[in-house]
Each structure stands twice: as structure tokens, then as C-alpha cells.
Symmetry: D2
Subunit: 337 residues, 4 copies
């Protein structure tokens, strides 16, 4: 039984508590830490089967019975706590992104070289049943050599301008998932990036210095071309699609819906909207990524997403920002590590 | 060049005029006859390329240059004119049904034995691209042995009660197409029929002695079971689907739409309704059946749908009426020929 | 916390153990009984969080701390254990069917009159997200008055002939779910039934006295007509669809798939098969029916499916057998209660 | 009756002969000219209803009874013959592109100023039922303000390298249709373009100095962002899709298929590939553009696609080439008129 400590009891921390308590029989949540731990959260955690709660995450690091740590705290703490946990000999699952600063990610890499524990980054979409099926089709050669990779990623609601200011911007906060997906589907890194972006959804986002709509072109190392289109607001819900076109065919996936029911009437033939947002669409993926992390610990195998998989999307995000600022294609290698 | 005479300038007669004039280069409409021929119709026909018009169909039968006759007059005249045309040595294309009276169809069969001209019945749906594709899948063995055949056939609007009184009833007027389709898809005749029917669309139809909604079960000679569901009114348009389930798979088809466009918004994901009615859905099928008829003449081959294919659906329709009246399964053989 | 005892640790008993232990926080499995309880099963149960196991289900009935009993034993024991549990004052969830013998179901009804505990029958498909969405569309009037109800229900693999002999036959073992679904979608009982059936899948099923393919027509009390088509073997997987056609439109649902991925290549455009069988397709429905049962206990409300909902599908199944034997439409009222 | 002369009896010239002879009753083909007019072509034309043929297109320009000229000759002659026909007072339908050289298009514009005849450019895709439906949804405000426009355009087979050398390259030969489509769907011109392209299909295309795969990003004048992805070879057929995402929803369309038939078997659920190539997919669009041209003459209204609509896509194509060569975003205004 893998003993787990979870740092952060916000939305995503709770998702992992629930996954482990109900779907991962090989693991147990021994301690849940959050500086703002409330009575209500403590009670909820207890009901879920969490053994104990605390306000101080250092208790988790200090507990010799805890094997693995999940870092679900605010982004600015990810790299620092990663290093501390690694140095404490804990296996680490870290929510994305590790950091917006390449140097801080390098600190984590350095720590991992000295203390080779398991390290997994939380790019949950790789574990989504639809994207997995597309990736398997590509990796197994069913569509031949990939030529064009297309990702559509649109949120149902824009974040508030406050959040935009601290999030690192759309490329590091939202597109970072798509950067990871491009690498996953292409099976290689990006070489160059070009961004066309605009403020079309909410002027407040523009005033906060960010964009809310973008089309991003990438030249991949295997010669294929990728394109991501992003919007902060799709009125019909969370739109998450991918398509890989290759020399021998195409693999594509659309969205999931709450049901397959369709109504035909005088207005047309109407099916359901995509599932509303990431908690609905990716719940199965969150469970699966956690099972993979625990499996890697139990069987002493590689995690499916190591620290380098955490680094590359951040480089791509920083290159995207540079492309937008300088209005030119930017080599990923310009973002030095 | 096959010279054609067309008897009847109503809706379906005009469909055939248009098909031949624009899409069948091997044929020419030499004469169009209609007892109610108007100046307007005559002008329309001339513009389409019809050589001459008349009020008297006997002129068509008497014209030695005319090779083939299309019978598009009212149903009660089909068998009589068929016999006359056959005896005049003309090839005959006869709109469905040949007659509601088995004996009158036998007169046509007798005439054909003496004068073996080409004879084709107008079950146009066999030439629809969707049903053709399903039938080809079945006939080529792609789904193995057929087990269950399902046909959905719903009109967008009920006929007026006046029409219902003279039409022979829903089974002989509307379902007759589905009886033909069942034979086409199963590749054999029906043995037995059971009808469950009701008046749910329009009480006036019930007062006229007919039904407007039905589920019809058929035992086929090859052991498969078929089911047809009919309604006189589908608010979303003309609903024409088929499905054949067999030992090695299933072949199915849905409806055609005016476009493949889909709108996603806060209400859902909406595509177009089925094409409104038979003139829209089956225009391509009308052209194709005419090409097949002309080809059979030009190449001296069998027509795809002979007089026996005109007989069987009428027997099935009469058996359906008997099943409804006597509330029991009825053998098709009870309708003696 | 509702204390639950589960009788039967077979496939479906384990499904409920898992649902309660992982997804129903208001309930706890206190005791799991199975006459063939193995060490392995006991260990599995313990890992899942079951408090204790036994070979004797009477221990469950005798335990005053147990509030509710789930009857997942073989069909022939359902009614007898139902009566015992009701008399012991336990709330009862009973797998379908309660019994094939109407008199034995009446015994359960009598017991419930004397001891009005909660009683729920395991027609899980009502809780499937797809069928729920169709039923909600019908019940909310979105399609107007229902006219034609169609259910397709095909298993991926036929049962062995041994099972067929004891199962009560296809209508009571397999179609019974569809009989319930017809009542659920129509919102009323059936009046009359007509069966057309055949042995097309496996001659051994015929030798065992059963059929494996059927088309079943039902006249419903609200005037609508329903049709069910069944097969014991669909090579493409578990085919579970429904369609309700009404005066104002149609609500329909297809199958669920493992993913939305689609491959386009020179052979065509190919999506995934339906989910393989009931454990895959209905896992969410099993969880939901259990939540509803526990909720009814916690909130002292009606269960969504009472003993009468267990009775009617059995009557329909017996009427179906009679229709097949006597080759005629049979009134449900001929199966007297 | 509009008398038409057609210059060029190649593939597209024959398409227009057929459209006019069978589907446009208000027009007649008086003369068909082709320098390589064969006996066979002459016979075919006669059978279609063409009055006469010639090897010298000047006969068409000189014939005072001819009202309108269709220019279907090789691209390098389009602008010159346009000017000649305009100066001869003929209405002109010119296949795309008018020319690859902006100055030559300006010659046509100058001629039109002096002789204001009707002039229509052959961007047939605007008349496709699917793209029309998407454009109508956008233009009628159903999706709000457009934010992102996506076009997928892939041919089933690459051209031979010989053709590539004279075609002006992929952007002027193939993408030019997509440049027109972007303007049609956005309802405005492009401001800036960025091209990412590669040779992935056929090295011979690269040796001929062209690319065969591209992702092209466009900044539109209304602030929206457009992206086109092109490939010279999709093994599953002609892939022609569009999607417009806006503030109030999304309108999208997929491909047409030969039938709606779907086969379900142990391998999956398979529908038909897209229609093979442009003659199949756009046959209806070719007819419709011709009807619109003839209507504009008959009713003395504007043609739906004037000379400026012929100019802009060429500018976009030239800007695309520049972007690829100089590896930077290029303003359309850099291509001066």
C-alpha cells in the first residue's frame, strides 16, 4: 500500500483525493495539507477516507511513512516544494506547470539527478480515452507518417482578469496542455513556433496584458506541421478535439457528451453539447494518471510523464510569448535551458 | 435513340419528362399525353424538349415510331393501359402500383406472356444511393446471413381524407414501397405478415376507414424477420431509413440532408432535418430508374423490376389489410394469385 | 450510514459491492454472503472495504444492524429471500426478475403489504444516461404524444444451451429488460403482444426449446405501438438503442463507445464498435440505481422501481411465450395476477 | 435565351457545357472552341446540344449573336481573352485564376471600366451546398462575431511534377480556392499571412520548387484569425471542410459521401469515404455558379463574384509565396496593385 500525502486541498487536490480513495486500491491518502484547511474540508476528507489533515505541508515531507507526494498547491510553489519533496526522498506527482521559469525547473531536474525518485507531471489529457485512442493510432502506424496535427482547445468561460495577471498568460496557463498534446501526438518536440493572437472575447483580458484567442503554428522535429487554435470562451461548452493527418490516413476525435440522445424536430436534429468543462471531460483521465503514477511506484518503472515532459511545454509557452511580442517565428532553441 | 411516350403530366409524369430530357441522352420524349393538358403544361413540355403533346393517350399507342410508354396516369388506369400498350408492342414503364386488384395484374402478366416486351414497375427507392448501398452490402455477403430487416418510413404530412378514401389505404398507397424494399433487402419474398396499426395522426383518416400509424412484422422466406414502422406525419420531415442485421454484421442507412452543416451553440449541436419529401430525397433515384429502363431497351436485357415485382407488394398490402381486419398473422399465400 | 448485506457474490453481486464501497458514501457493506464463498473472494471483499463475509445469507437477515439487503443470488431464490428479508424488516433491492412465476411475485407483494419496507427491482437500464435522456425528452413533452417506440437489444454472444434451459427463455431472461424499457419510455403498461421469433444464431438454442432472434410488437395502454428487436449475437458488440417517435418529434439514442476516435483511410471512415457488453455499457447505471436505492432509504421516499415494476415485465414475458406458442396476439390480461 | 460561347473543351469546359445544356434552360451553347478540337469532342458536343464547334475562339468573339463567353482555356490565356471578350462586348465567366500576375488582372479591370459587362470568376466552392450553409449561418449572425475560421483542403492525389512547374505553385493553383473561401466565410479581406509549409508527399514536388503540405495563418480585416491546412494527398479522398467559430457559436461542415450507408462489424463501424475529387463533390456547385452567371445577365444584376474577387486570392497567393520564401508574416498590402 503506497502512502500518499497531498499538498493543496483546492479543486484539483480534491480530484486526486477522490481518485485515490475510490479508484486506486494500491494507495491511501495519509495526510492532506492546506494552509487554509477548514473544518468543512477536514470533515469532507475524513468521509472520503483520508487519515489526517494539516495546515503545514512540511509534516508530509517529514513523515517517514509517506512514500509519495502530490503537489496541488499554487503554481508559484510547485518547483520549490518539488525540490523539497525530492530531497526528502518522496516520489512526486506535480501539477502542471512545474514553473514558468526555466531555471526553477532546472532546480527540480538537478534535485532528481541527486535523488532519483519517481517524478510525474500532471498533463492529464494524455490519459483521456479519446486522445489516447488517436495517439495509439498514430504510434502504431495506422495513419503512416504524420504530416499535419491539429488541436482545437476552447474553454467554456474566460477566467477573470485578476487570474489572467498571475497565471502567466494564456500560453502558459491554458495552451500549455495543448503544447503537451502536440508532443504526445507527434511523438517528438517542436522546433519552431509562430503565434497569431487577438483579444476578441473580453477587453479586460487585453487590459491585463494577455490575449484570449489564438492560432499557433508549430514546426515539429519530425517534419510535420502542427496547429493549435484556442479560445477562452466557447458558448457551447468545452471544445477539445484533435486530428492527426498522415501519409496513410487520418485519426481524429471529437468531444464527449452527457448522452448520445438526439432530438429530431421541426428545427433540426439536435444532439448534446460537449461536456461542460475539464472536471466533466477529464475525470476519467485524472483517475488514470493517478493509477499510472502509483503503478510506477509499485512496479518501479518509469512514470509516463517525466520532468523533461514538464520542461518542454514551458519552453514552447515562452517561445509563443516571444513570437507574439516580436511578431515573427521563434525557434524553441531560443528559449535556452 | 429510344422514342418515348408519357401518359400523365402530373407530378410524377413531369419528373420523368425532366429526367429523360436532361439526364437520359439515349431517349427522347416524342409525345406527352394528359386528358387535362393545359396551355401552360404544353409550353413547359416544349421548353423541356418534348416534341409534342396531346389529350389522348391512344395517340401514343398508335404512333409506330414510339418504342416505349411511361404510364403515369391515375392508379385505376395502370393495368388497363399496361395491357393496351403491351398489345401495341410498346415497352412499358408503369408507376406503382399496377393495380390493387390481383386479377387485373394477372391481365398484365397474361398480356406480357403473349407479347414479351420490356416491363418495369416504378419502385424508385431501389435506385436510391443509400438503399442501394445497403442492399449491395447484404447481397455481397458483407453482413452474412440476414436475420432482422428494419425499415422506417414516415411521411412529413398526411394526405387529405379524400385521397385516403380512393388510395386503397395506407398499406397499398404508402407501405407498398416498404414492402418492395423488404423484398429488395432480404432478397426473397415474405411468407407471413402481422399488422399492429392505429389512428394517431388525424381522426379524419380513421373516419375514412384507414390507419395512419403502423408496425408491420413479416416472416421472410429465407427465415429472416422484417419489421416496417410507418407514420403519415413526422414533423421533422421525410424519414426513410433501413437496417439489415445479419450473422456477420449490420448495414444501415439514415436520411439525406440539404447540407452537412452543423451549428453548435448553447442549445446543443444541431444538424439539418431530413430532406423534406420524396421529390427531394428520391430525385436521383427517379433518374436512375429511368436510365435502367432505357438501358434494358437499348441492350435488350431484363428490366430490374418486372411485373412479378409489381405483384408481390400488392399481395403483401392485401395481406396486411386482412391481418388488421382479422387481428391475426396472415400468410401471403392466403392472397391467391 | 446505511448498513447493507449482500446475498450472492457472483458477477452482479460484485458489481454492487464495488459501487457501494467506492461510489455510495452513505452506505457500507457490512456482510457479504455466498454459499460458495472462497478465500479469494473473501480477500477481494476485504480489500474493497466489506466488513465481513459468510456462507449463510440467514446471518444477514438476523443481523439487527443491517438496514438493507441486496438479493443477487440465483433467480429461483429471489422471491423466497425477498419474502424472508421483508419479514425481517429489511429494505430490499432484488435483482431482476423477482421470479418467473406470478404467484411467487404475489407472495412478495403480500409480504410488502404487511411490512412496508423499501423494495427496488434491478432494472438497471432505466439509470443509463442515454435511456434517461430519451425518457426525459418524452416525459417533458418534447416530442409530443408518443406514437411509435422502438427498442433494439442485441447481445454480443449467445449464452450456452445449458443456461438457456434454466433461464426461463430469452423473453424472461433477456427481453425482460426491454419490456421494462418499453414501460419506462411509454410511461404506461402494455395491453397486447405479438411475437415473431426464430432460431438463427445457434441450433443448440432451438434444441433447448428457445429462440435467439425476435421481433416483438406491443400495443400500449396510451395507444402507442412499441416494437422490440432482439438477437442473441451481434458480432459488432452489445447493441442497445431506443427511439421514441411522437406527434412533435423524435428522441433517439445510439450506443456508447470506448472512444470518439475515428480513422479515415482508403477503406472508409471507421469509428469504434459499441461497448462490448453490459458491464461496460451499464457500469454507470449500476452505480446510479444503487444511489437511488440508498437515497430512498435515507430520505424515506419511494424507490424508483417498486415490486409492481418487477411484476409487469414478467407478465409481458409470459404473454410473449404464449404468443409464440399459439402464434397469435395475446392480451397481457390473459396472464392473470 | 442567352447565347453562350465556350472557349476550351477540356475537363472544366465540358462541365460547363453539360451544366448549360441540361440544367440552365435560359441559356444555349452556340459555339464551343478549342484549338485541339477532335472529331470525338465535336460529336460529344453535338449530342449534348451544342450548336457548333470551332478551333478558333476568335469566331466566338466575332459572333454578334453570342451574349456571353466562358473562358475555360489554359490559365496563361485567361486575362488576355478576358480583355478581348470584354472589348467585344461579351459578358464573361472566367475560370480561376484570372492570372498569376497582378498587372494582367489590372488590364482586365481597366477593360471592365471602359466596357461594363458582367464578369464572374469561377470560384465554384462558394456555391457548394455545405459551404453555403456555413456562410449563411455566419452572415445571418447565428454564430455572433467570427473569431476563428478554419479550412481543411486536401486533394486525393498530387499533380505530376510537370504540372507543378507551370501551375504557379500550390498556393496559386490549389490554395487559391481556400483563400477565396476564407474571404467568403469571414466576409472581409485578409490583412496578413504566415505560411508554414513542407514537402512531405512527393520529393519530386520539392525538386520542382514547390511544397505539398501547408498550414497558413491569416489575420482578417474584421479581427478574426483564419487558418488553412492543405495537403496534396489524402488517401481517404478529397477532404473539404470548414468551421467558423464565433462569439455565439460555431458553424461547421464536413464532407459529402456517396451514400449514408454504414457497416458495423467486428472491425468497427464504417461509413463511406468523402466523394473522391472535385468533379464529384462540386458538380452541384458548378451548375449553380452557371445559373447565377446566366441570371445576372438575364436580370441585369451583379454577378456574385466580380473581378475584385478574382484579384484578392491572387494577392493572397503571392503573399503566401513571399511569406514562405522570407520566413516571416507578410502583409497583403505588400503585394501592391
Amino acid at each position: 500500500m503506497v502512502q500518499v500525502g497531498i499538498i493543496g486541498a483546492g479543486r484539483i487536490g480534491r480530484v486526486h483525493v477522490e481518485s485515490i480513495c475510490t479508484q486506486v486500491p494500491e494507495a491511501q491518502v495519509k495526510l492532506l495539507a492546506d494552509p487554509f484547511m477548514t473544518e468543512e474540508t477536514a470533515q469532507w476528507a475524513k468521509n472520503m477516507g483520508v487519515k489526517a489533515v494539516t495546515k503545514d505541508y512540511k509534516e508530509i515531507l517529514a513523515d517517514p511513512e509517506i512514500d509519495a507526494v502530490l503537489i496541488c498547491s499554487s503554481t508559484d510553489t510547485h518547483s520549490q516544494i518539488s525540490v523539497e519533496a525530492i530531497e526528502a526522498g518522496k516520489h512526486v506527482f506535480c501539477e502542471k506547470p512545474i514553473d514558468h521559469d526555466i531555471d526553477k525547473i532546472k532546480n527540480v531536474m538537478d534535485a532528481l539527478e541527486k535523488h532519483p525518485v519517481k517524478y510525474q507531471v500532471g498533463f492529464n489529457r494524455r490519459f483521456d480515452h479519446n486522445f489516447e485512442a488517436v495517439q495509439e493510432a498514430v504510434a502504431s502506424g495506422k495513419i503512416g507518417e504524420p504530416h499535419v496535427i491539429k488541436i482545437t482547445s476552447r474553454d467554456p468561460e474566460p477566467p477573470c482578469a485578476e487570474y489572467v495577471k498571475v497565471s502567466g498568460g494564456m500560453f502558459l496557463d491554458m495552451t500549455i496542455h495543448d503544447f503537451d498534446m502536440v508532443r504526445f501526438l507527434a511523438g517528438c518536440n517542436a522546433e519552431e513556433i509562430y503565434v497569431e493572437a487577438a483579444v476578441l472575447v473580453d477587453p479586460a483580458i487585453g487590459e491585463a496584458g494577455d490575449v484570449d484567442t489564438a492560432v499557433i503554428t508549430l514546426k515539429m522535429e519530425n517534419g510535420s506541421i502542427a496547429v493549435i487554435d484556442n479560445s477562452r470562451k466557447a458558448v457551447y461548452g468545452y471544445d477539445q478535439r484533435a486530428e492527426v493527418f498522415g501519409s496513410a490516413g487520418m485519426a481524429a476525435t471529437g468531444n464527449d457528451t452527457a448522452s448520445a440522445a438526439v432530438i429530431s424536430n421541426a428545427q433540426g436534429v439536435t444532439g448534446e453539447k460537449p461536456l461542460h468543462f475539464f472536471l466533466e471531460r477529464y475525470m476519467g483521465a485524472y483517475v488514470k494518471e493517478m493509477k499510472c503514477f502509483i503503478n510506477a511506484i509499485v512496479n518501479d518503472t518509469e512514470t509516463p510523464l517525466g520532468v523533461k515532459d514538464g520542461l518542454e511545454p514551458v519552453r514552447m509557452g515562452l517561445a509563443a510569448k516571444k513570437s507574439l511580442e516580436e511578431h515573427r517565428p521563434v525557434k524553441i532553441s531560443e528559449i535556452t535551458v
